[in-house]
């Protein structure tokens, strides 16, 4: 197992280098000139050239990528064009807020989604099942920005229960977390339901019932464990989506997270921040995938890497 994890970590590292390359070159393709953005429209030609040299933008593309990669391995992600503070500092200042929001959303989605999915599977075709399936259909097609605005309107403006912007205690977390969890919740309900339905049709479930095992254990011990691998996989994927998708929610709720930082960086052509942010989110997604694989191999031992004896 240890050997497997080390191997996987090496693969993760390679993936990260690959991602960094893609981010780097795609940003180069994007229109806009960072130097021009910094100096404004009335910049002189000399000023621009000087600034470009200072920022290293006059070097050839590949050599700039090499420098970037070299710095990256030393833990240096560059300096923000806007604030002139190190990217690592900017990320360290905003990432905890994003993590808090994503984890809260994920917890909501899992705590509600898995039991609801199980209930629907047990009572397939019942009224509950039909209502939930309809709700899921609506939830996956609602645009997050619209949902966020509606939630703010209802719970913050009309009812006045929760604050609508900023980060603070638990009360500040509620509305953005609920908004952000909606889509993942629907996906988790759907996956849990279909995975449970498939398992419940299996012979070994009938066989377990025929042994006189109490229905509660049939469902929560045997069926759920067998149904869990696809559910956990989708939860892992959704977690990555949440981290990356925090951009919209954070902007609507003025949540001081990485997503909002990146939106601002995109408008300002602040390449180092964009690269740093993308790398941070990719690193998290890749680690989550690794983590999911490890959990799944404990749930289903036949997924464990074969050990050489």
């Amino acid at each position: 197992m240890k050997e497997f994890i080390i191997k996987r970590l090496v693969v993760c590292l390679a993936l990260l280098v690959f991602t960094s390359g893609i981010t780097f070159f795609l940003l180069e393709l994007a229109p806009g000139d960072p130097a021009l953005m910094m100096l404004g429209q009335d910049a002189t030609q000399e000023g621009l050239t000087a600034l470009r040299r200072e920022m290293g933008l006059d070097q050839p593309l590949l050599s700039r990528y090499a420098t970037f990669l070299g710095d990256l391995f030393q833990g240096d992600m560059g300096v923000s064009y806007q604030t002139h503070r190190p990217v690592s500092q900017e990320i360290a200042a905003t990432f905890p807020a994003t993590l808090e929001l994503s984890v809260a959303s994920m917890v909501i989605a899992i705590i509600i989604g898995v039991p609801v999915g199980i209930t629907c599977a047990i009572r397939q075709y019942s009224l509950t099942d039909r209502v939930v399936r309809f709700a899921v259909l609506i939830a996956v097609s609602l645009p997050v920005f619209w949902l966020g605005l509606m939630i703010i309107y209802l719970f913050s403006i009309v009812l006045g229960w929760f604050p609508s912007f900023g980060r603070g205690g638990l009360r500040h977390l509620v509305l953005p977390a609920v908004t952000m969890s909606c889509y993942s919740l629907a996906i988790i309900v759907r996956m849990t339901r279909s995975s449970m339905l498939e398992v419940l049709r299996c012979d070994y479930i009938t066989a377990t019932r025929a042994k006189g095992i109490h229905e509660f254990y049939v469902i929560y011990k045997h069926a759920l464990r067998n149904a869990l691998v696809p559910v956990i996989t989708i939860i892992g994927l959704q977690f990555g989506v949440l981290l990356g998708g925090a951009v919209i929610t954070e902007t609507i709720f003025a949540w001081p997270g990485l997503g909002r930082l990146m939106v601002q960086a995109i408008f300002a052509r602040d390449y180092p921040i964009i690269r740093g942010g993308v790398l941070m989110i990719s690193a998290c997604s890749i680690l989550i995938t690794l983590f999911v694989d490890i959990i799944c191999s404990y749930i289903n031992p036949s997924l464990k890497p074969v050990e050489k004896s």
Binding site: Y125, Y204, A210, K211, G212, H222, S302
Partner: protein
């Protein structure tokens, strides 16, 4: 701690199924998968149910345990008297107490009827932990004993294996060990050897025979193979399209098969020493259970079918003591 089950005298009736009807609702209509089945067996006896695939054998077995697949399947009518108690009207809680404890079931495919994620030792011990409230350790020790009983080598090691680490034959032995764990008085074995190789098949049948003699457990042996039934049962019921079409003691049935379907099945058994260029399969296919007409369900495939066969279904009549058949040919005295 171990609750002794009530002892019954040797010759009394263990199971008596009367007019059992199980229907499954589908988009195209109500399927009568079990359509008025009667079964009767004494304690210690082994009864066979034989018929082609799809004739409702499994559903009969599942109905006895009240495990008809929901939400569309349900027992419509009938009595299932087990030790004189009607299972059809028992509440679910009592039914759970009875499953695995009084009546156990072995399923057709050992590859798919064991939970892939749990060690086989846990799965064997599970029903004992529920019914007899054994501790984890006691259940483990009993599981080892049971694996020894069903002839699994080095059971102390095997109990930790998951099903995918065992061969098909071993898995079916595990299923048998699990079924026998609570000393049930009846085991329903639904095609226990169909999914296995021929040599393994013979071994498992031999094992069932040996277990029957050692434990005195009654078996309902379900098979599509009359050969399997012939060697292992005292009594046979032949099933077609959800109905019992012929029922007799094994010797009587083989010496004197009456229903054209039974003779058809017999001609399709390969026999050592009898040269045949090809086995006679019964012509035609199992009818679609949705559009069974008013008449005898077998009449479209029957070589002796006459006009009235297609208009009215024949009743089950007792031709001689203990030998019943559902065919117009034998109803002339009515």
């Amino acid at each position: 701690m171990y609750v002794e089950k009530p002892q019954h005298n040797e010759n009394d009736t263990l199971l008596c199924v009367r007019n059992l009807k199980t229907h499954i609702r589908s988009d195209a209509g109500e399927i009568r998968v079990v359509d008025g089945v009667d079964l009767q067996m004494k304690r210690g006896e082994t009864v066979g149910i034989v018929g082609e695939s799809g004739c409702g054998k499994s559903m009969t077995g599942l109905s006895i345990l009240r495990l008809v697949p929901g939400p569309h399947g349900r027992i419509v009518s009938g009595e299932i008297l087990f030790n004189g108690q009607d299972l059809a009207s028992l509440d679910e809680k009592e039914m759970v107490r009875l499953r695995g404890n009084e009546i156990a079931m072995v399923f057709q495919d050992p590859m798919t009827s064991l939970d892939p994620l749990f060690a086989v030792g846990d799965q064997i011990g599970e029903s004992m932990r529920f019914h007899q409230k054994l501790s984890r350790k006691e259940a483990r020790n009993r599981a080892i004993e049971l694996l020894k009983l069903v002839g699994v080598p080095s059971p102390e090691l095997r109990i930790k294996d998951r099903p995918d680490q065992l061969s098909g034959g071993l898995r079916q032995r595990v299923m048998l060990a699990s079924a026998l764990s609570c000393k049930p008085s009846l085991v329903i074995a639904d095609e226990p050897t169909t999914a296995l190789d021929v040599t393994i098949q013979a071994q498992i049948l031999e094992l069932i025979k040996q277990l029957r003699e050692e434990t005195g457990t009654s078996f309902i042996l379900i098979s599509h193979d009359l050969g399997v039934i012939a060697e292992n049962c005292q009594h046979v019921s032949v099933m077609y399209a959800g109905k019992i079409v012929e029922s007799a003691d094994v010797r009587e049935l083989f010496d004197n098969p009456l229903h054209p379907y039974t003779t058809g099945l017999m001609e399709s058994i390969p026999r050592i020493g009898v040269r045949k260029d090809r086995l006679e399969a019964i012509p035609g296919i199992v009818p679609n259970p949705l559009d069974l007409g008013e008449g005898c369900a077998f009449s479209p495939r029957c070589s002796c079918s006459e006009e009235h066969c297609e208009q009215k279904a024949p009743p089950l009549v007792e031709v001689c003591p203990g030998h019943e058949v559902r065919c117009w040919k034998y109803c002339n005295h009515l």
